[in-house]
Symmetry: C2
Subunit: 237 residues, 2 copies
Protein backbone atom coordinates (compact mmCIF):
# COMPACT_ATOMS: atom_id res chain seq x y z
CA UNK A 1 0.00 0.00 0.00
CA UNK A 2 1.24 3.48 -0.85
CA UNK A 3 1.96 6.16 1.75
CA UNK A 4 -1.04 8.26 2.78
CA UNK A 5 -1.23 11.70 1.21
CA UNK A 6 -0.37 14.70 3.36
CA UNK A 7 -2.38 17.90 3.74
CA UNK A 8 -0.47 20.90 5.06
CA UNK A 9 -2.66 23.28 7.04
CA UNK A 10 -4.82 23.40 10.15
CA UNK A 11 -8.41 22.08 10.16
CA UNK A 12 -9.34 25.45 11.68
CA UNK A 13 -9.00 26.82 8.12
CA UNK A 14 -12.19 26.35 6.07
CA UNK A 15 -10.03 25.73 2.99
CA UNK A 16 -8.16 22.92 4.75
CA UNK A 17 -11.49 21.45 5.89
CA UNK A 18 -12.63 21.40 2.22
CA UNK A 19 -9.68 19.16 1.29
CA UNK A 20 -10.37 16.94 4.32
CA UNK A 21 -14.05 16.64 3.34
CA UNK A 22 -13.07 15.48 -0.15
CA UNK A 23 -10.53 12.98 1.22
CA UNK A 24 -13.01 11.57 3.74
CA UNK A 25 -15.91 11.33 1.25
CA UNK A 26 -13.58 9.48 -1.13
CA UNK A 27 -12.14 7.30 1.65
CA UNK A 28 -8.53 8.33 0.99
CA UNK A 29 -6.16 7.85 3.97
CA UNK A 30 -4.32 11.08 4.83
CA UNK A 31 -2.11 12.84 7.33
CA UNK A 32 -2.28 16.46 8.47
CA UNK A 33 0.69 18.77 9.05
CA UNK A 34 -1.10 21.68 10.77
CA UNK A 35 1.17 24.54 9.76
CA UNK A 36 -0.04 28.12 10.03
CA UNK A 37 0.83 30.02 6.80
CA UNK A 38 1.91 33.22 8.59
CA UNK A 39 4.38 31.26 10.69
CA UNK A 40 5.90 29.04 7.97
CA UNK A 41 9.57 29.42 6.91
CA UNK A 42 10.44 31.24 3.63
CA UNK A 43 10.91 27.87 1.86
CA UNK A 44 7.16 27.25 2.18
CA UNK A 45 6.85 29.31 -1.04
CA UNK A 46 8.47 26.42 -2.91
CA UNK A 47 5.45 24.18 -2.35
CA UNK A 48 2.84 26.95 -2.01
CA UNK A 49 3.58 29.88 -4.35
CA UNK A 50 1.00 32.10 -2.64
CA UNK A 51 1.91 30.79 0.87
CA UNK A 52 -1.60 29.43 1.35
CA UNK A 53 -3.06 26.25 2.79
CA UNK A 54 -4.08 23.56 2.06
CA UNK A 55 -1.16 22.02 0.20
CA UNK A 56 -1.75 18.46 -1.07
CA UNK A 57 1.34 16.23 -1.17
CA UNK A 58 1.39 12.75 -2.70
CA UNK A 59 5.07 11.82 -2.85
CA UNK A 60 6.65 14.38 -5.19
CA UNK A 61 3.25 15.47 -6.58
CA UNK A 62 2.11 18.79 -5.11
CA UNK A 63 -1.23 20.57 -5.52
CA UNK A 64 -2.36 23.96 -4.31
CA UNK A 65 -5.82 25.49 -3.97
CA UNK A 66 -8.68 23.72 -2.19
CA UNK A 67 -10.94 23.63 -5.26
CA UNK A 68 -8.17 22.21 -7.45
CA UNK A 69 -7.56 19.50 -4.84
CA UNK A 70 -11.27 18.62 -4.55
CA UNK A 71 -11.78 18.39 -8.32
CA UNK A 72 -8.64 16.25 -8.62
CA UNK A 73 -9.93 13.85 -5.96
CA UNK A 74 -13.30 13.70 -7.72
CA UNK A 75 -11.64 12.83 -11.04
CA UNK A 76 -9.30 10.21 -9.61
CA UNK A 77 -11.68 8.41 -7.21
CA UNK A 78 -15.03 6.78 -7.70
CA UNK A 79 -17.61 6.35 -4.97
CA UNK A 80 -19.78 9.17 -3.61
CA UNK A 81 -19.62 12.12 -6.03
CA UNK A 82 -18.61 15.59 -4.80
CA UNK A 83 -20.09 17.34 -7.84
CA UNK A 84 -23.33 16.79 -9.75
CA UNK A 85 -22.98 14.88 -13.04
CA UNK A 86 -25.19 17.07 -15.23
CA UNK A 87 -22.96 19.75 -16.86
CA UNK A 88 -25.24 22.72 -16.09
CA UNK A 89 -25.57 21.68 -12.47
CA UNK A 90 -21.83 21.03 -12.26
CA UNK A 91 -21.19 24.53 -13.62
CA UNK A 92 -23.51 25.96 -10.94
CA UNK A 93 -21.70 23.87 -8.32
CA UNK A 94 -18.34 25.32 -9.43
CA UNK A 95 -19.81 28.83 -9.25
CA UNK A 96 -20.98 28.32 -5.64
CA UNK A 97 -17.62 26.82 -4.67
CA UNK A 98 -15.83 29.81 -6.22
CA UNK A 99 -18.27 32.14 -4.46
CA UNK A 100 -17.31 30.45 -1.17
CA UNK A 101 -13.55 30.41 -1.79
CA UNK A 102 -13.30 33.93 -3.14
CA UNK A 103 -16.13 36.15 -1.90
CA UNK A 104 -17.18 34.49 1.38
CA UNK A 105 -13.51 33.68 2.05
CA UNK A 106 -12.38 37.26 1.54
CA UNK A 107 -15.01 38.54 3.96
CA UNK A 108 -15.23 35.75 6.53
CA UNK A 109 -11.63 34.55 6.64
CA UNK A 110 -9.76 37.76 5.85
CA UNK A 111 -12.35 40.37 6.87
CA UNK A 112 -13.46 38.77 10.14
CA UNK A 113 -11.52 35.69 11.29
CA UNK A 114 -8.07 37.07 10.47
CA UNK A 115 -8.84 40.51 11.94
CA UNK A 116 -10.72 39.37 15.05
CA UNK A 117 -9.01 36.07 15.91
CA UNK A 118 -5.65 35.52 14.18
CA UNK A 119 -4.24 39.05 14.49
CA UNK A 120 -5.05 39.63 18.19
CA UNK A 121 -4.48 36.07 19.45
CA UNK A 122 -1.77 34.66 17.17
CA UNK A 123 0.09 37.70 15.80
CA UNK A 124 -0.50 39.84 18.92
CA UNK A 125 -1.58 42.93 17.02
CA UNK A 126 -4.84 44.80 16.50
CA UNK A 127 -7.25 43.86 13.71
CA UNK A 128 -8.46 46.37 11.11
CA UNK A 129 -11.66 47.85 12.59
CA UNK A 130 -12.93 49.32 9.32
CA UNK A 131 -12.48 45.98 7.54
CA UNK A 132 -14.43 44.24 10.32
CA UNK A 133 -17.22 46.83 10.21
CA UNK A 134 -17.54 46.58 6.44
CA UNK A 135 -17.72 42.76 6.50
CA UNK A 136 -20.23 42.65 9.37
CA UNK A 137 -22.48 45.49 8.25
CA UNK A 138 -22.23 45.47 4.46
CA UNK A 139 -20.66 42.60 2.53
CA UNK A 140 -21.79 39.63 4.64
CA UNK A 141 -25.43 40.81 4.96
CA UNK A 142 -25.45 41.36 1.17
CA UNK A 143 -24.00 37.87 0.62
CA UNK A 144 -26.64 36.36 2.91
CA UNK A 145 -29.38 38.24 1.02
CA UNK A 146 -28.09 36.63 -2.19
CA UNK A 147 -27.87 33.16 -0.63
CA UNK A 148 -31.37 33.51 0.88
CA UNK A 149 -32.68 33.73 -2.69
CA UNK A 150 -30.77 30.80 -4.17
CA UNK A 151 -30.47 28.19 -1.41
CA UNK A 152 -33.13 25.47 -1.13
CA UNK A 153 -35.73 25.45 1.64
CA UNK A 154 -35.38 21.69 1.99
CA UNK A 155 -32.44 19.41 1.32
CA UNK A 156 -29.31 20.71 -0.33
CA UNK A 157 -28.28 22.57 -3.49
CA UNK A 158 -28.35 19.51 -5.74
CA UNK A 159 -30.74 17.16 -4.00
CA UNK A 160 -31.08 15.30 -0.75
CA UNK A 161 -27.34 14.96 -0.09
CA UNK A 162 -24.83 17.79 0.49
CA UNK A 163 -22.09 18.12 -2.14
CA UNK A 164 -18.90 20.18 -2.34
CA UNK A 165 -20.77 23.45 -3.00
CA UNK A 166 -22.88 23.01 0.16
CA UNK A 167 -19.82 22.09 2.24
CA UNK A 168 -17.62 24.88 0.85
CA UNK A 169 -20.15 27.64 1.52
CA UNK A 170 -21.52 26.42 4.84
CA UNK A 171 -18.16 25.66 6.45
CA UNK A 172 -17.25 29.36 6.01
CA UNK A 173 -20.02 30.09 8.52
CA UNK A 174 -18.15 28.17 11.22
CA UNK A 175 -15.25 30.65 10.98
CA UNK A 176 -17.75 33.51 10.92
CA UNK A 177 -19.09 32.09 14.20
CA UNK A 178 -15.55 31.92 15.67
CA UNK A 179 -15.31 35.63 14.85
CA UNK A 180 -18.64 36.37 16.56
CA UNK A 181 -20.82 36.62 13.46
CA UNK A 182 -23.99 34.47 13.46
CA UNK A 183 -26.58 34.16 10.68
CA UNK A 184 -29.75 35.82 12.02
CA UNK A 185 -32.39 33.10 11.48
CA UNK A 186 -35.21 35.67 11.58
CA UNK A 187 -33.69 37.68 8.73
CA UNK A 188 -32.25 34.76 6.68
CA UNK A 189 -34.40 31.69 7.59
CA UNK A 190 -33.52 29.71 4.44
CA UNK A 191 -29.77 30.20 4.94
CA UNK A 192 -30.04 29.30 8.63
CA UNK A 193 -32.02 26.12 7.92
CA UNK A 194 -29.67 24.98 5.17
CA UNK A 195 -26.64 25.75 7.36
CA UNK A 196 -28.10 23.63 10.18
CA UNK A 197 -28.65 20.70 7.78
CA UNK A 198 -25.09 21.03 6.42
CA UNK A 199 -23.56 21.29 9.90
CA UNK A 200 -25.30 18.04 10.92
CA UNK A 201 -24.14 16.14 7.83
CA UNK A 202 -20.97 14.03 7.83
CA UNK A 203 -18.10 14.52 7.37
CA UNK A 204 -18.78 18.18 8.18
CA UNK A 205 -20.15 17.56 11.69
CA UNK A 206 -17.07 15.67 12.91
CA UNK A 207 -14.65 18.05 11.16
CA UNK A 208 -16.35 21.00 12.84
CA UNK A 209 -16.07 19.23 16.22
CA UNK A 210 -12.33 18.76 15.53
CA UNK A 211 -11.97 22.41 14.54
CA UNK A 212 -13.84 23.52 17.70
CA UNK A 213 -11.43 21.49 19.82
CA UNK A 214 -8.38 22.93 18.02
CA UNK A 215 -9.62 26.48 18.68
CA UNK A 216 -8.89 25.92 22.37
CA UNK A 217 -5.82 23.69 21.96
CA UNK A 218 -2.28 25.02 22.52
CA UNK A 219 -0.19 25.00 19.37
CA UNK A 220 2.19 22.30 20.62
CA UNK A 221 -0.69 19.94 21.32
CA UNK A 222 -2.47 20.34 17.96
CA UNK A 223 -0.67 17.55 16.11
CA UNK A 224 -1.64 15.10 18.85
CA UNK A 225 -5.31 16.11 18.76
CA UNK A 226 -5.39 15.76 14.96
CA UNK A 227 -3.56 12.43 14.96
CA UNK A 228 -6.04 11.06 17.52
CA UNK A 229 -8.92 12.18 15.28
CA UNK A 230 -7.34 10.51 12.23
CA UNK A 231 -6.58 7.30 14.15
CA UNK A 232 -10.23 7.11 15.17
CA UNK A 233 -11.32 7.66 11.55
CA UNK A 234 -8.90 4.97 10.41
CA UNK A 235 -10.26 2.42 12.87
CA UNK A 236 -13.86 3.33 11.93
CA UNK A 237 -13.07 2.70 8.22
Amino acid sequence: MSEPVTIIGSPVSPYVRKAMIALEVKGVPYRIDPQIPFLTPPEFTQISPLRRVPVYLDGPFVLNDSSVICEYLEETHGGTPLYPAEPRWRAKARWFEEYADDHLGRNVVFGLFFQKVIRPFVLKEEGDKEMIRKAEEETLPAALDYLEGVLPEVGFLFGDRPMMADFAMSTMLLNARYAGFEVDAARWPTVAGWRDRCFKAEPLARLHALSDTLMTTRRNDMQGVIDAYLAERQSAA
Copy 2:
Protein backbone atom coordinates in the same frame (compact mmCIF):
# COMPACT_ATOMS: atom_id res chain seq x y z
CA MET B 1 -30.67 26.45 -35.23
CA SER B 2 -30.73 27.87 -31.70
CA GLU B 3 -29.93 31.47 -30.86
CA PRO B 4 -26.24 32.26 -30.32
CA VAL B 5 -25.17 32.57 -26.72
CA THR B 6 -24.48 36.04 -25.34
CA ILE B 7 -21.45 37.17 -23.37
CA ILE B 8 -21.90 40.34 -21.33
CA GLY B 9 -18.67 42.31 -20.94
CA SER B 10 -16.06 44.10 -23.02
CA PRO B 11 -13.22 42.21 -24.76
CA VAL B 12 -10.90 44.72 -23.09
CA SER B 13 -11.40 42.63 -19.92
CA PRO B 14 -9.04 39.63 -19.74
CA TYR B 15 -11.83 37.63 -18.10
CA VAL B 16 -14.19 38.34 -20.99
CA ARG B 17 -11.44 37.39 -23.45
CA LYS B 18 -11.12 34.02 -21.65
CA ALA B 19 -14.78 33.24 -22.34
CA MET B 20 -14.35 34.37 -25.97
CA ILE B 21 -11.27 32.15 -26.38
CA ALA B 22 -13.25 29.13 -25.15
CA LEU B 23 -16.19 29.92 -27.45
CA GLU B 24 -13.92 30.39 -30.48
CA VAL B 25 -11.83 27.27 -29.83
CA LYS B 26 -15.07 25.29 -29.53
CA GLY B 27 -16.62 26.98 -32.57
CA VAL B 28 -19.70 28.21 -30.68
CA PRO B 29 -21.48 31.22 -32.29
CA TYR B 30 -21.85 34.09 -29.82
CA ARG B 31 -22.78 37.72 -29.40
CA ILE B 32 -21.14 40.32 -27.17
CA ASP B 33 -22.94 42.94 -25.07
CA PRO B 34 -19.95 45.08 -24.04
CA GLN B 35 -21.22 46.44 -20.74
CA ILE B 36 -18.80 47.94 -18.24
CA PRO B 37 -19.54 46.56 -14.73
CA PHE B 38 -19.06 49.92 -12.94
CA LEU B 39 -21.62 51.52 -15.24
CA THR B 40 -24.32 48.82 -15.19
CA PRO B 41 -27.75 49.44 -13.60
CA PRO B 42 -28.53 47.98 -10.13
CA GLU B 43 -30.48 45.10 -11.76
CA PHE B 44 -27.20 43.73 -13.14
CA THR B 45 -26.82 42.04 -9.74
CA GLN B 46 -29.68 39.71 -10.69
CA ILE B 47 -27.59 38.01 -13.38
CA SER B 48 -24.15 38.71 -11.85
CA PRO B 49 -24.25 38.50 -8.04
CA LEU B 50 -20.78 40.03 -7.70
CA ARG B 51 -21.40 42.54 -10.56
CA ARG B 52 -18.56 41.03 -12.58
CA VAL B 53 -18.08 40.16 -16.24
CA PRO B 54 -18.22 37.93 -18.20
CA VAL B 55 -21.80 36.72 -17.83
CA TYR B 56 -22.76 33.79 -20.09
CA LEU B 57 -26.39 33.73 -21.24
CA ASP B 58 -27.94 30.85 -23.17
CA GLY B 59 -31.67 31.56 -23.12
CA PRO B 60 -32.66 31.45 -19.45
CA PHE B 61 -29.44 29.67 -18.44
CA VAL B 62 -26.94 32.05 -16.81
CA LEU B 63 -23.34 31.38 -15.78
CA ASN B 64 -20.86 33.60 -13.95
CA ASP B 65 -17.09 33.38 -13.57
CA SER B 66 -14.76 32.96 -16.54
CA SER B 67 -13.31 29.65 -15.32
CA VAL B 68 -16.76 28.19 -14.69
CA ILE B 69 -17.77 29.21 -18.23
CA CYS B 70 -14.63 27.71 -19.81
CA GLU B 71 -14.97 24.39 -17.98
CA TYR B 72 -18.65 24.24 -18.92
CA LEU B 73 -17.80 24.76 -22.60
CA GLU B 74 -15.11 22.10 -22.37
CA GLU B 75 -17.58 19.60 -20.89
CA THR B 76 -20.37 20.31 -23.35
CA HIS B 77 -18.36 20.54 -26.60
CA GLY B 78 -15.95 18.17 -28.28
CA GLY B 79 -13.23 19.29 -30.67
CA THR B 80 -10.00 20.94 -29.58
CA PRO B 81 -9.53 20.48 -25.81
CA LEU B 82 -9.02 23.48 -23.52
CA TYR B 83 -7.64 21.36 -20.67
CA PRO B 84 -5.23 18.41 -20.66
CA ALA B 85 -6.83 14.98 -20.29
CA GLU B 86 -4.45 13.50 -17.71
CA PRO B 87 -5.87 14.25 -14.22
CA ARG B 88 -2.59 15.49 -12.69
CA TRP B 89 -1.96 17.79 -15.63
CA ARG B 90 -5.57 18.97 -15.56
CA ALA B 91 -5.20 19.77 -11.85
CA LYS B 92 -2.06 21.79 -12.65
CA ALA B 93 -3.96 23.54 -15.46
CA ARG B 94 -6.71 24.51 -13.03
CA TRP B 95 -4.11 25.82 -10.59
CA PHE B 96 -2.54 28.08 -13.25
CA GLU B 97 -5.95 29.32 -14.36
CA GLU B 98 -6.83 30.13 -10.74
CA TYR B 99 -3.44 31.82 -10.33
CA ALA B 100 -4.28 33.99 -13.37
CA ASP B 101 -7.86 34.79 -12.31
CA ASP B 102 -7.11 35.48 -8.68
CA HIS B 103 -3.51 36.54 -8.13
CA LEU B 104 -2.50 38.02 -11.51
CA GLY B 105 -6.00 39.46 -11.83
CA ARG B 106 -5.89 41.16 -8.45
CA ASN B 107 -2.58 42.79 -9.29
CA VAL B 108 -2.87 43.44 -13.03
CA VAL B 109 -6.57 44.22 -13.36
CA PHE B 110 -7.31 45.80 -9.98
CA GLY B 111 -3.82 46.96 -8.94
CA LEU B 112 -2.74 48.42 -12.30
CA PHE B 113 -5.37 48.54 -15.04
CA PHE B 114 -8.21 49.77 -12.82
CA GLN B 115 -6.01 52.33 -11.02
CA LYS B 116 -4.09 53.62 -14.06
CA VAL B 117 -6.65 53.34 -16.87
CA ILE B 118 -10.27 52.87 -15.68
CA ARG B 119 -10.25 55.31 -12.76
CA PRO B 120 -8.60 58.27 -14.53
CA PHE B 121 -10.12 57.78 -18.00
CA VAL B 122 -13.54 56.21 -17.32
CA LEU B 123 -14.45 57.21 -13.76
CA LYS B 124 -12.56 60.56 -13.90
CA GLU B 125 -10.83 60.13 -10.56
CA GLU B 126 -7.30 59.47 -9.39
CA GLY B 127 -5.96 55.92 -9.02
CA ASP B 128 -4.46 54.62 -5.77
CA LYS B 129 -0.72 55.38 -6.02
CA GLU B 130 0.33 53.00 -3.24
CA MET B 131 -1.59 50.14 -4.83
CA ILE B 132 0.12 50.84 -8.17
CA ARG B 133 3.57 51.01 -6.57
CA LYS B 134 3.03 47.74 -4.70
CA ALA B 135 1.87 45.91 -7.84
CA GLU B 136 4.70 47.28 -10.02
CA GLU B 137 7.54 46.95 -7.54
CA GLU B 138 6.57 43.98 -5.39
CA THR B 139 3.77 41.60 -6.29
CA LEU B 140 4.16 41.46 -10.09
CA PRO B 141 7.96 41.02 -10.01
CA ALA B 142 7.46 38.23 -7.44
CA ALA B 143 4.79 36.62 -9.67
CA LEU B 144 7.12 36.82 -12.68
CA ASP B 145 9.92 35.24 -10.63
CA TYR B 146 7.57 32.35 -9.87
CA LEU B 147 6.45 32.00 -13.49
CA GLU B 148 10.07 32.17 -14.73
CA GLY B 149 10.67 28.94 -12.79
CA VAL B 150 7.60 27.02 -13.95
CA LEU B 151 6.94 28.09 -17.55
CA PRO B 152 8.48 26.08 -20.40
CA GLU B 153 11.38 27.38 -22.48
CA VAL B 154 9.81 25.98 -25.64
CA GLY B 155 6.18 25.37 -26.52
CA PHE B 156 3.44 25.78 -23.96
CA LEU B 157 2.54 24.49 -20.49
CA PHE B 158 1.11 21.18 -21.70
CA GLY B 159 2.82 20.61 -25.02
CA ASP B 160 3.09 22.24 -28.42
CA ARG B 161 -0.32 23.91 -28.34
CA PRO B 162 -1.53 26.61 -25.91
CA MET B 163 -4.41 25.61 -23.66
CA MET B 164 -6.66 27.56 -21.27
CA ALA B 165 -3.94 27.94 -18.61
CA ASP B 166 -1.55 29.53 -21.16
CA PHE B 167 -4.26 31.84 -22.48
CA ALA B 168 -5.58 32.84 -19.03
CA MET B 169 -2.16 33.80 -17.67
CA SER B 170 -0.69 35.41 -20.78
CA THR B 171 -3.74 37.51 -21.66
CA MET B 172 -3.35 39.25 -18.26
CA LEU B 173 -0.08 40.65 -19.61
CA LEU B 174 -1.96 42.57 -22.32
CA ASN B 175 -3.79 44.57 -19.63
CA ALA B 176 -0.50 45.03 -17.78
CA ARG B 177 0.85 46.51 -21.03
CA TYR B 178 -2.16 48.85 -21.30
CA ALA B 179 -1.24 50.07 -17.82
CA GLY B 180 2.40 50.62 -18.82
CA PHE B 181 3.88 47.47 -17.28
CA GLU B 182 6.03 45.32 -19.62
CA VAL B 183 7.77 42.03 -18.80
CA ASP B 184 11.51 42.80 -18.83
CA ALA B 185 12.87 40.14 -21.21
CA ALA B 186 16.37 40.45 -19.74
CA ARG B 187 15.14 39.66 -16.24
CA TRP B 188 12.41 37.12 -17.16
CA PRO B 189 13.47 35.62 -20.53
CA THR B 190 11.38 32.44 -20.20
CA VAL B 191 8.21 34.40 -19.37
CA ALA B 192 8.85 36.85 -22.24
CA GLY B 193 9.42 34.07 -24.78
CA TRP B 194 6.33 32.11 -23.68
CA ARG B 195 4.24 35.32 -23.71
CA ASP B 196 5.38 36.05 -27.28
CA ARG B 197 4.39 32.53 -28.40
CA CYS B 198 0.99 32.83 -26.69
CA PHE B 199 0.35 36.30 -28.15
CA LYS B 200 0.99 34.95 -31.67
CA ALA B 201 -1.34 31.96 -31.23
CA GLU B 202 -4.99 32.07 -32.33
CA PRO B 203 -7.54 32.93 -31.13
CA LEU B 204 -5.46 35.10 -28.78
CA ALA B 205 -3.76 37.15 -31.52
CA ARG B 206 -7.00 38.32 -33.12
CA LEU B 207 -8.74 38.90 -29.75
CA HIS B 208 -5.81 41.06 -28.67
CA ALA B 209 -6.06 43.02 -31.93
CA LEU B 210 -9.77 43.56 -31.21
CA SER B 211 -9.01 44.65 -27.64
CA ASP B 212 -6.30 47.06 -28.89
CA THR B 213 -8.83 48.64 -31.26
CA LEU B 214 -11.43 48.96 -28.50
CA MET B 215 -8.93 50.75 -26.27
CA THR B 216 -9.09 53.71 -28.66
CA THR B 217 -12.78 53.40 -29.63
CA ARG B 218 -15.43 55.73 -28.20
CA ARG B 219 -17.98 53.93 -26.04
CA ASN B 220 -20.87 54.47 -28.46
CA ASP B 221 -18.91 52.88 -31.30
CA MET B 222 -17.79 49.75 -29.42
CA GLN B 223 -20.78 47.56 -30.26
CA GLY B 224 -20.22 48.23 -33.97
CA VAL B 225 -16.52 47.36 -33.82
CA ILE B 226 -17.29 44.11 -31.97
CA ASP B 227 -20.16 43.16 -34.30
CA ALA B 228 -17.88 43.68 -37.32
CA TYR B 229 -15.26 41.41 -35.69
CA LEU B 230 -17.87 38.71 -35.02
CA ALA B 231 -19.33 38.98 -38.54
CA GLU B 232 -15.86 38.42 -39.98
CA ARG B 233 -15.36 35.40 -37.71
CA GLN B 234 -18.74 34.05 -38.76
CA SER B 235 -17.93 34.33 -42.46
CA ALA B 236 -14.49 32.74 -41.87
CA ALA B 237 -16.14 29.75 -40.15
